[in-house]
Every structure is written in structure tokens, then in C-alpha cells.
Amino acid sequence: MTDFMLGRETALVILVLFGLAWVGWGWYLGRNNRTIEDYALAGRSVGFAMATATAMATWITSNTTLVAPQLTYQFGVWGMLGYSMAALGLILFAPLAQRIRQLLPNGFTSGDFIYQRYGRFAWAMFIIISLCYAFGWLVSLGMAGGLLLSSLSDLSYLTGMTAILVICVGYTLLGGLKAVIATDFVQSIVIITGVVIVAWVCIDTVGFDTMHTTLTREQPELLNLLFPAAIMFFFNNIFFGIGEIFHSNVWWSRAFAFGPGIGKKSYLTAGLLWLPIPVVTGFIALAASSLNLVPPSADMVGPMVAAKLLGSIGAVFIFVIVFSALASSMDSLLAATSDLLTQDIVKKLFVPDASSDTLLRANRYIVIGLGIGTWCIAAFKLATLGALLNFTGAFVASTIWPIVFGLYQPKLTGRWAGLAMVAGTTCGLIGYFAIGFYVAAIISCGVSLVCCRIGIMQSKDYFQWHELEEKG
């Protein structure tokens, strides 16, 4: 697919070096983990710098480096600006992070809050949605690892996929959330530096006047600020992003792990720092026609342009950037999903009196299990899993209002919150198949809002927030 490939030996050397460094560092950081709180929540005292970096790095996924250029190539200026709006998920989560920490100072997962606030029915719906999304994202990351590493180098799909899973499982297992956060810090610097260099070289080589002239002649819609499809998809993408962040334990676990008073500041800062990145990664796609490149599939436009611009160094660069982006999301997902399964399934359903040691052991086994499970599913290379992530928009967007009202509106009961999630998801999926993917999240969010408002209007209940502390 790319003109340019890394040799097998070079690719293996990079992977082995990263692997040894990360797993070694993970072991070092994890040697003082004694309790489940040390392991799963880094002692609940992560400082501002690490907190901000991990929020940024986790939200910079392979999508940011691949889908931002793809969307720019398809929808032009609105494509990259629309993608930037995913920063709103982080920014709007900032006040929620503070509220979560305040209401549940001893909480572990998003499921803890939903269970205590709403009860069993809403919790069950929420857990189903969370696990569908988490597995979908985990497997798609595993597949992306295999596909990308094999298209950028001589490595096979299985080797690339196995390598990235083994490395991420290795340091997450040994170091827990501390290892995840520390590696995220380094990965965020690597990713941002890498994409900035690619962008500067693009401007230097092609130039804005050539880009603009070529686009005006060959792809005029990409410069059109009234591009209908892009305008149509704009808020659907925003609600998808907000739904992903508001419900996912990846972000809730961080809210519990960050030191007191840190959550709101770090999520806000991370969101603001993340905002320009999709424009930087995306705009290089506007240079494709000037470089006489036509990608065989839209998601390859980013790597193709970068490889053409950077020549022989390009492949190493992209390889390292893509690896960092994948690893920084995969480690977070592994940690957060294993926390959710440990606390919400093992502890709540099977062993309610489990000690910290038991939970710590269970958490570690679950990390290994998730790695093996992801490998097995990703090894079949089921193309439909890419599509699965698309219609998780219908699932995740239905959780936005139950979570917001759950945190701030004491009149919403569990029955109506659960109903909102079910109705929102169902209608979102109907919209997805009947109309198109670009309405799934918006319909889901809208229907969920209507259900929640009806629930609030007719409710005579009034949730007492101190009950959360008592139950916790």
C-alpha cells in the first residue's frame, strides 16, 4: 500500500527495543504495588503532568493518525475541524471528573457509580454497553496494530498484532495503571513531536499555494465550507465522542486515580491541548493531489503522504508514531476493562467479600485473559469489527444523559435511566440501518434525552447524594 516499507529486521528491532524498554519500566513501576488501589488506581494521587499527558495520549489513538487524514481527504476542511471537536469529550468531562471524585472518593469504576446511583437494572444495561464498546475498541486496536505494522513493514499481520498485544499486556500486567500512565507520557511526546515534524515537512515541500491551487482544480469540495455531507455528520461525531468519554471506564478510572483537585484541571488542559492535533495530522491529506498520490483506500492517505514526504526516514517515523498511538490506547483499555470486570463482575456478582489481594490477583488474570481473547478474535481478521465501532455510536451516545443527570439531577430513577439507555440504543441502531451511520449517535442521544426528561418530570423520588458515600 505505501511506496515505502521498513525491512523486517528494522521493524523487529524497533518492536523489541520498545518492548524491552516498556516492559522493563512497567516492572520497575509496579514493584511497589501492594494493594488493588495501587495497581488499578496508581494510589489515587496522580499529579497534574502525568494526568494531563495520559488523558491526551489515550485519546490520541491510531484513529487520530489515520482517520483524521482520511476524514480530511473525504470531507476537506470540515473533516479535520469536525475531528478536532472530539476534544469536547475531554473538555466536557472535566467538571464530571471533579463531581465523580467528590461523590465517590472510594470508587473504582463507572459501574460502581451507576450501581449505587441507579440500581441493578440500569447497571446491567450500562455494563452491557460498556463491555460491547470496550471489547470492540480493544479488538479493533489489535487488528489495527496488525494491519498497520504489516503495511508499513515486512512483518506479517499476525506478528505485528501479536507483538503489540504482548508488549501492552506485559507492561500493564506488571505495572498496573502507573505503568500505563508513565508510558503514556513518553508516548504523547513522541506522537506530538512526530506529527508536528511531518506537518512542517509537508508545508515546506508542498506549500499552501500549490495545495490550494491543486485542490481548487481537482478536489474543490475539500475547500468548501458548506460541504453538505460534512455539515450533516458534524454533531453526530461530536455526540459519538462525548458518549465514548462520558461512559467509558478508561476515563472514570482516571478520575478516581488523579489526585484531589487534579481531575478537572487536567481533563480541561488535555482537551485544549488535543484540539489542534487532528488539524495537524489531518491537513497533510490535502497535499495528496499535489503530490500526485491517490490512495487505494482512504485510510491510507496519511501514511502515504508522510512516506512520500519523508522518504527513507518516513517509514521509521510513521512506524514509531503509529506504534505509540496504538500502545497508548491499548494499555488504557486493557487496564480499564480489567478493572471493570474485576469490580463489577467478579466482586459484585461472584465474590462480594473479596480481599484486596484476591482482587489484585483476579485483575492480573483478567488482563492476561483480555489479551488472549483479543488475540483470538483479531487473528480472524473479521472486517465487520471495524463497522462494529461505527455503530457503537448508537450504544455509547445513549449513556450521556443518564450519566449527566445521574451526577447532577437527583430526580431521575434507575428504571428511567435504564430505559433511556435501551431506547436510545435501539432507536440509534434503527437509524443506523434505515438512514445511515451519520444519524446513529444523534438519534440515540435524542431519544435517551426524551426518556430521561419524562422520567424526571413524573418522578417523585429524590436521590440523596450522601447515600453514595454510605454504600461505597
Binding site: N236, I238, N292, V294, A298, Y438
Partner: protein, 141 residues
């Protein structure tokens, strides 16, 4: 002067003959064995690779009036993803030095701005409501 004219005449003749050949080549009938007709609502199209394309060097995208809007190289086995086209009719023509063939006819008709802005406005209203809910909740905190 007369000697100059004798030299020029054969040159002009060659040029006229060459020009005619070029014009003739340009007007050469575009073979159109299997012209697929497609439509697009967002200016994007994936042109899949087919057997038999390998003997051509260039994919041209022409407007209905015959102007070539863009040219793309033919890479063996590789599809083309073309994006950013405005409303209109386009012809996709594969050409080599001695022949050309039209493989695709594309009609681009973008979504209406009314429906686009309708969906945008609904989303904006819900987004503003979310902002208000968060700010109100934060204030009552």
C-alpha cells in the same frame, strides 16, 4: 529570404501533420465497452481495479465538456479513491499512448444544504442543552 522560406515550408508541413495527428488522437473515439454508471452524494468514489487496466498509464477525470480535471497514475492492482468532486457529471477515462477507454460515468449530487443544516441545527440545540445542564449542575455543586 527565399532560402529561409524553403527551409520553413517543410518545417511548417511537419508541424501541421503532427498537429493534425495530435488533434486526431485527441478526438479518437473513446471505446466504451463497459461504462458503469454511478452516483455519489458526497463527491467520493472508489474506483476498483479490474483486469485489463494494466495496459493503461493514466486515469483521467473529465467533465462533461471534455476538460480534464485531474490525472492519476495507474498502479498495477491498486484501486483509486477519488474525493472532493463538486456537483456534476464526470467521465473516468483510462488512457495510454495509443488508446483510451471510459470505464465509469459518475453523477455527483451532494446532499441538500437544507437537510444538512437541519441535522446540524438539531445537534446544535442538543449540544447547547448539554452545556447548560453541565453549567447548571456545576453551579449547584
Amino acid at each position: 529570404m527565399s532560402r529561409y522560406r524553403w527551409h520553413v515550408v517543410p518545417d511548417i508541413a511537419v508541424k501541421i501533420i503532427l498537429a493534425s495527428l495530435l488533434v486526431f488522437a485527441g478526438c479518437a473515439p473513446v471505446t466504451a465497452a463497459n461504462i458503469e454508471k454511478r452516483t455519489s452524494q458526497d463527491g467520493t468514489i472508489v474506483v476498483p481495479w479490474k483486469e485489463g487496466y494494466a495496459r493503461y498509464q493514466t486515469l483521467r477525470i473529465n467533465s462533461v465538456s471534455g476538460d480534464t480535471l485531474s490525472r492519476h497514475p495507474v498502479v498495477n492492482g491498486q484501486n483509486w479513491v477519488i474525493t472532493g468532486l463538486s456537483d456534476g457529471q464526470y467521465r473516468f477515462i483510462l488512457s495510454s499512448s495509443d488508446s483510451q477507454t471510459q470505464i465509469l460515468s459518475l453523477h455527483v449530487s451532494h446532499y441538500s444544504l437544507t437537510s444538512a443544516f437541519g441535522l446540524f441545527t438539531l445537534g446544535l440545540i442538543m449540544f447547547v442543552y448539554l452545556l447548560v445542564a453541565l453549567m447548571k449542575g456545576g453551579r449547584d455543586d
